[in-house]
């Protein structure tokens, strides 16, 4: 029996209240500490509530682990025509705190709080120019939307959150909207996500047509009945239930591609780095981009019964992991490297899902949230310490200057590279193992060849991951600091930072005087910035032990998989096929002892052993075309520009031309016709109608001109006429 709770709604709504309060009043609040109190306070309360609910879950038997709250009936679906006739379900605004959404909520509020804390230091400049409250309100609004996404008990509440996080992402990427590239990046993210949302909505509608319900529990419970049907007829098409499940799965996956930045819709995420770094950490690494993964795990009852969709997820995930990792190899912007790394890691997660290992994929979501948030926040600290410099060629030597940041990012790097016992080892290598196992055991869900191919792609991507992360660390933290005009090897490039543009109010983030000619050496950032990074790094260090793979059961057990087990649809097909420990041992040993260290050593040999970077230069000189293509990100953006955006704009221009010529022309033509008609009417009125009237008047005038001669006004004339008349009368009388 699920537990009913009356305070569950406060978990998402507390951040909403914080957002409303800060957003409505922050403009007039002089003391930004008050804004901090509201924003962080609502996050802390929300986090504590999540902890409380989580403790409640832990006290229950696995089958009963669910805390529910229905707030109100949103709308009544009664009467909607679906497959089984007419549905009688009601759409509720309901929240559901079960093992999956609870763990996600813990992640969102926990990591979210740490990033809020980091922002209080990172956004110090905005405290002065009055935009600080706006940033905090957006962050809180994002947390509200994200919690709606994960806690929603049905697809509609989830979709509300899905759109909400997209909106907040747009608002926060374009936070510095006075700079044009930030506004453009925000638009790009929003529009790209709309393409994904289109697929998501189609999938959602199909799902509703088939099931007649949107509630996750109901959907999962109905799956077996639906699958038992010989065929399903919708829109006049008759196909087996699996065919429809494949279609739904592919459509929903398109939505996941948009939100979680997979090929072909990943292009917005690197550009999203235009936003403030805490936003990159919270939205574009730890939480929002994982919502696609969350959705697929939620919908696992669809995907395990949709082999084609699952194969698509596997392949797209592997392709994204490989391509994005290779793009990360040749970037110089520290945040761009991390952005491609995020895209690549998300690809790994989708690979796990595609191999049917939903728990492994979700586990990587968690470990990745820790180490990638740590890396992003650490890069934020580095950027701030280096006076808003983002190009790694102008950094270096920060190891001694920023020890806390260096240590935290070092741990996170080892974690993402997959070195035992850091968390990335457990999560990433489990994914790779499950993909490999799919081939080894003849494929659970997909063709075994596909599993082998994707496994090779994944291994290559893992190699590149270790390489570019060590490259990032070496370029940033080792050697000598190159930013202060001290550059023996000529490695620096002209800085793209325009100090006058965004930060012209004459103060630096950490209170230094602003001196363009003699920049200070970078310093360690204040505690409220390095502490969240250190906590996240600590989590990245230990989180792996939550899910020890089967082969290492002597260390511990796979708590995380067991925790999520009640949410997974039991096909009953592959229960028996457990791992082949010997092969698993070998692969893991190879991965952690040979593969990742080899990549790291290679990067070290390239960039650290020889501080003049002669080897990478020689490599570039040897293969200039290869470097050019990778550095330009394979010209994907240019291709999209030429293939889709350009034609769309062309089409828009054509439509506009049609509109202005034909549609406006018709309207203007009608107006002109009316004008001409009224001119003619006016002429007729003035000439013909008025002419007749004037003619009558003219005739009368002419007549009266004759008569007026008689009216001389002389009294003697009148008397004379009277006298003549008298005479006539007299003569007439006389003669008669």
């Amino acid at each position: 029996m699920p537990i009913h709770s009356s305070v569950l709604w406060l978990i998402p709504f507390l951040p909403l209240f914080g957002a409303i309060l800060n957003g409505a009043t922050g403009r007039w609040v002089k003391n930004t500490r008050l804004v901090d109190t509201i924003a962080l306070g609502s996050m802390v309360l929300s986090f504590l509530l999540v902890l409380g609910c989580f403790a409640q879950l832990l006290g229950q038997a696995p089958a009963n682990r669910s805390v529910d709250q229905t707030l109100w009936t949103w709308f009544d679906l009664g009467g909607a025509r679906v497959l089984g006739g007419v549905t009688h379900n009601t759409m509720n605004w309901a929240y559901k705190f079960d093992p999956l959404s609870g763990a996600m909520a813990l992640l969102v509020t926990g990591v979210g709080f740490l990033i809020h804390l980091f922002s209080t230091g990172y956004m110090a400049e905005e405290r002065q120019n009055g935009t600080y409250y706006r940033f905090m309100a957006y962050l809180n609004l994002f947390v509200f939307s994200m919690l709606n996404l994960v806690l929603g008990a049905n697809l509609i509440v989830m979709f509300l959150g899905w759109e909400g996080v997209g909106l907040c992402s747009y608002l926060l990427i374009g936070f510095y909207f006075e700079k044009e590239f930030c506004a453009i990046a925000g638009k790009k993210a929003f529009v790209t996500n709309r393409i994904g949302d289109f697929g998501f909505l189609i999938g959602f509608f199909l799902l509703f047509m088939v099931f007649g319900a949107t509630d996750f529990d109901t959907l999962m419970g109905m799956t077996r009945t639906i699958l038992a049907r010989p065929e399903i007829t919708l829109f006049g098409l008759s196909h087996a239930p699996t065919w429809w499940f494949n279609l739904i799965g592919c459509c929903l996956f398109l939505g996941a591609c948009g939100k979680s930045a997979q090929i072909p819709l990943y292009v917005w995420l690197p550009d999203a780095m235009a936003g403030p770094t805490p936003v990159s950490a919270l939205i574009h690494a730890a939480t929002m981009v994982t919502s696609g993964l969350y959705m697929i795990t939620r919908m696992n009852f669809i995907y395990v019964n949709a082999p084609v969709a699952l194969a698509l997820v596997l392949f797209i995930g592997a392709l994204t992991a490989l391509v994005a990792a290779s793009m990360g190899l040749a970037q110089y912007d520290i945040k761009k490297v991390l952005a491609y790394s995020t895209v690549s890691q998300l690809g790994f997660m989708f690979m796990g899902m595609g191999a049917g290992a939903f728990t492994a994929g979700m586990f990587h979501v968690f470990t990745h949230a820790f180490f990638k948030a740590a890396l992003f926040l650490g890069s934020g600290s580095v950027i701030m310490a280096c006076h808003h410099e983002q190009d790694m060629r102008n950094m270096g030597g920060l190891r001694k200057l920023m020890p806390w940041t260096f240590a935290s990012m070092g741990i996170a790097t080892l974690a993402i590279a997959g070195i035992f016992p850091f968390s990335g080892f457990f999560s990433k290598d489990e994914i790779l193992w499950r993909v490999f196992e799919g081939w080894y055991n003849g494929g659970h869900f997909n063709g075994s060849t596909l599993n082998l191919v994707t496994w090779i792609m994944g291994m290559l991507a893992a190699f590149m991951t270790a390489f570019y992360m060590v490259r990032l660390m070496v370029m940033t933290f080792f050697g000598e600091y190159r930013g202060a005009g001290h550059d023996p090897h000529g490695l620096t490039v002209p800085s793209e930072v325009v100090h006058a543009a965004g930060h012209d109010d004459g103060h630096d983030a950490h209170g230094h005087g602003h001196e363009a000619h003699a920049p200070h050496l970078p310093q360690e950032v204040p505690w409220n910035m390095w502490l969240p990074v250190a906590i996240l790094a600590g989590l990245a260090l230990v989180a792996g032990f939550l899910n020890i793979p089967h082969s290492l059961h002597w260390i511990g057990s796979s708590h995380f998989s067991a925790w999520l087990q009640p949410l997974l649809y039991q096909t009953g097909a592959h229960e028996a096929a457990e791992a082949v420990p010997a092969m698993e041992y070998i692969l893991m040993a190879v991965a952690t002892l040979v593969w990742a260290p080899a990549a790291m050593a290679l990067a070290w040999w390239f960039y650290a052993v020889d501080p003049t970077w002669a080897r990478p230069r020689a490599f570039v000189k040897r293969f200039p075309e290869l470097f050019r293509w990778v550095n330009a990100k394979y010209y994907v953006d240019e291709f999209y520009q030429a293939a889709f955006i350009g034609p769309c704009k062309q089409l828009g221009a054509q439509l506009w031309a049609f509109d202005s010529l034909a549609v406006d022309g018709m309207v203007n033509g009608a107006a002109r016709f009316t004008l001409l008609l009224s001119h003619a009417m006016h002429w007729f009125d003035a000439k013909v109608v008025d002419g007749l009237v004037n003619l009558v008047a003219w005739i009368l005038q002419q007549i009266s001109l004759g008569f007026r001669k008689f009216q001389s006004g002389r009294v003697q004339n009148y008397a004379f006429v009277m006298f003549l008349g008298f005479l006539v009368f007299a003569f007439w009388k006389f003669l008669a």
Partner: protein
């Protein structure tokens, strides 16, 4: 005792002078006087015919006309005074308000 024809002839002359004066002269006072002449010509006729027929009705009627003429002259002169005050003239050719 003048003959009847002689009296009627005198009366005719008087009346003709009156008509001519009314039609020709421009001065209102003269015109009024000429009107009196015409009235008196008529009176002369009335008296002549009264004597010729041997009744007194004509003589009585002549007396009535004299009274009437006095009233007419007084009204006429009053109009002339008013006119003079209004237009500063008593020449009828300069008074043509009713000209069309």
């Amino acid at each position: 005792m003048p003959s009847m024809n002689a009296v009627l002839f005198i009366s005719f002359l008087l009346f003709s002078v009156g008509v001519a004066g009314v039609l020709i002269r421009r001065n209102v006072l003269i015109i009024l006087m000429c009107v009196e002449l015409m009235l008196n010509a008529a009176n002369l006729n009335l008296v002549a015919f009264a004597r010729h027929s041997g009744t007194v009705a004509g003589q009585a009627f002549a007396l009535l006309v004299m009274g009437l003429a006095a009233a007419e002259v007084s009204i006429g002169l009053a109009l002339v005074v008013a006119l003079y005050r209004k237009k500063d003239t008593i020449q009828v050719d300069q008074i043509n308000l009713l000209k069309g």
